[in-house]
């Protein structure tokens, strides 16, 4: 198939580009960026942590849009709805991976820099709630009965989408009303020295490309699984019909 060969070459090219971008960005982060005066080399984990945190706030919207699309097309154009569902599951899993990395690297950095693994300030708590929401999404997909999975998951995704801004605001109020522990996480982008910019930008671009690659691969996997499911269903129907051969 011409189309599939084209897609395959695009995928390989994107993979190689992404790999190159990651190598370049990591080199910038680990070698070329100057050592931070206050924090020393541990600061370099930010070049991995911050892009993942920022991106883990972008992929949920992909999931929300895909879920809305699935519900819209469910009766109007079922095949397009299947595509939307594949995008939804792919983006949900990538969100979870990125959120996990954000939390884990943040905790490692916090332990070294602040001496604490965790604090209930608003940013960390909101990220934890986002993580919980997506775990619950994947649990629903795992535990629900096959015919219903897509629709139920799409509905839950809409609920989660409505919830995210409410969570953000409420936890922000909670944490400004009751002052947390002494160390607030300060935004590292505010007042970052210009010498760090190349490393920042390179890392954000590289990890965004990686996220898109992961999503595309998961999407392709899901589409193949859907295809197999459709074929099996068709075969079952055909087998149940009585043909005189």
């Amino acid at each position: 198939m011409d189309r599939s060969r084209l897609l395959k070459s695009v995928a390989v090219a994107w993979f190689l580009l992404t790999l190159g971008a990651i190598v370049y960005a990591t080199r910038l982060a680990l070698v070329d960026a100057p050592t931070d005066a206050l924090q020393g080399n541990i600061f370099r984990i930010f070049f991995y942590h911050v892009p993942h945190s920022m991106l883990s706030l972008v992929w949920p919207y992909v999931n929300l849009a895909a879920s809305a699309g699935f519900l819209f097309w469910r009766r109007r154009d079922p095949l397009r709805a299947l595509t939307a569902d594949a995008v939804a599951i792919a983006s949900a899993e990538v969100t979870l991976v990125y959120a996990t990395i954000c939390l884990a690297t943040g905790m490692l950095w916090g332990r070294v820099e602040w001496g604490i693994w965790w604090t209930w300030d608003y940013r960390l708590t909101s990220m934890l709630v986002l993580w919980l929401l997506f775990v619950s999404y994947l649990m629903l997909r795992a535990l629900s009965s096959t015919g219903q999975t897509k629709t139920l998951a799409a509905v839950l995704s809409i609920f989660a989408g409505i919830d995210v801004p409410i969570v953000y605001m409420s936890i922000r109020w909670w944490r400004t009303q009751h002052p947390g522990p002494v160390f607030f996480s300060s935004d590292p982008d505010a007042g970052v020295d210009k010498s760090y910019y190349p490393a920042w930008i390179a890392n954000i671009v590289a990890w965004a490309m990686w996220g898109l690659l992961l999503m595309a691969m998961r999407y392709a996997l899901e589409r193949r699984r859907q295809q197999r499911e459709q074929d099996a269903a068709l075969k079952a129907i055909e087998d149940s019909l009585e043909f005189t051969r």
Binding site: L143, S144, S145, V155, F159, I171
Partner: protein, 224 residues
């Protein structure tokens, strides 16, 4: 045969069914009492500290108690293919949801009315802030839990591990509401800050999610 009539019919049905067996209410009452006792063992309630923690404890107890009852409220629809009949009837599906949510609201409120005096006794509570606001906070908080809980219980109706799934999907979505109700209650009991912000959060949360539940219930009911 307007919308209100259907809601009232569903509500009456659920109230009548529950009144005849009283399983849910008795279970909820005893469960919340047990949680209160266990928490008293966990956190030694002296008069000064108890005002700060009792808000959290009462809502955690109600959360767990409500969760045990919510699954049950839908399983009675599975017997005798009642749910299929509901799906086929021309009555609006969201009326079924609203009737059931209101009946669950009534049950949890009954549990609260029994639990509140017990709480006051166990924790030697008297509110330092405006106690009258509790009459606003308790229904708002209860509705937040019950509305989403009824909806998610319906979502999980045909899943395996149904009882396990409800808390897994309900609790993350309810976190802002839980924050609101706990903070508002603590603010009223301890009298240290104004609960107004949290009450407004609860109102906004309830409006947003009641709308979402009503609009999406038909989708959830008619999957497959």
């Amino acid at each position: 045969m307007n919308y209100g009539f259907h809601v009232w019919a569903h509500l009456k049905k659920d109230l009548r069914l529950e009144w005849r067996s009283r399983d849910s209410i008795n279970g909820m009452l005893f469960f919340s009492l047990l949680i209160v006792v266990v928490f008293s063992l966990a956190f030694d309630p002296t008069a000064v500290e108890s005002r700060h923690i009792s808000g959290g404890i009462v809502w955690v107890a109600l959360l767990f108690a409500a969760t045990t009852a919510l699954n049950q409220s839908w399983t009675r629809e599975l017997k005798n293919h009642v749910l299929e009949a509901q799906r086929m009837s021309p009555a609006p599906p969201s009326a079924l949801f609203l009737g059931k949510a209101l009946s669950n609201f009534v049950f949890v409120t009954l549990v609260e009315l029994v639990l509140a005096p017990l709480f006051i006794v166990f924790y030697n509570l008297h509110a330092l802030g405006q106690a009258r606001l509790l009459w606003v906070v308790m229904p708002l908080g209860t509705w937040a839990l019950v509305c989403n809980g009824t909806f998610f219980a319906a979502l999980g109706l045909r899943t395996r591990n149904r009882e396990l799934l409800l808390p897994l999907i309900l609790f993350p979505v309810s976190i802002p509401a839980l924050l609101g109700m706990i903070e508002a209650t603590t603010g009223i009991l301890a009298g240290e800050f104004d609960p107004g912000l949290w009450i407004r959060l609860l109102i906004a949360y309830n409006l947003a999610f009641t709308t979402a539940c009503l609009l999406l219930f038909e989708t959830a009911l008619s999957t497959e």
